[in-house]
Symmetry: C2
Amino acid sequence: MRAFDILGDPVRRRILELLATGEHSSGDVVAVVQREFGITQSAVSQQLRILRDAGFASVRADGTRRIYAVEAGRLREVDDWLDRFRALWLPRLDALATEVARGKRKRRHQD
Amino acid sequence: MRAFDILGDPVRRRILELLATGEHSSGDVVAVVQREFGITQSAVSQQLRILRDAGFASVRADGTRRIYAVEAGRLREVDDWLDRFRALWLPRLDALATEVARGKRKRRHQD
DNA sequence: TACTAATATTAGCTGAAGGTAATATTAATG
DNA sequence: CATTAATATTACCTTCAGCTAATATTAGTA
């Protein structure tokens, strides 16, 4: 669950929240984060890189712009990790029902 | 989502995984974590305190022992935060269906 | 009541995460 | 092709989270 190491930073989480609403250019992300956290373009760019390297985001070039999008994989890891706790607030649902309900395809350990 | 700040540490995550399987004494937790991470009793005790203070765990005394249990609330926050991404891997489920399926009672912002 | 067992707390140290400032890179544009 | 716009990278600095070592606390026990 290295995924949580990445999510343990408010700037990175905010970036992901933003990307959850759709693709955004680096500039867009910088603008929002800069307004809310008051950090430099450099710092935001570094966080974007971390998200890329960790597989939480992907980039595509559009001229001189970089368009970022969120990637599902690592976030599903987090979702899966939570499974072990869900019995705490879904006590009546059995495991299979929960999986079906959540539309989860049965995945092997780390796919 | 301060919850993620707490989860952004492997020792704390491991402790929660352990507590997910049921109550454990401080000593039990120390034994496991010590074996796996090679840190001192002091360090583990400090992490247990952080989990307590943050509302991820609760304690009850049993003689000289402290029995820890996981608390659902903060973990649900994480689960809720993930909602915005679930469309990425559950594209066909509409919002209501997802909620019903996951058995989630409609909660107000931060209850 | 002295001793031990279980756990928590405190003080101090250290590495690494995340920041800034400056600079490099790359593509569009006149 | 020189310039500008958008973004990334690098080097360096600083803060603080998490560690250890030592000690305090509290309950059971001989």
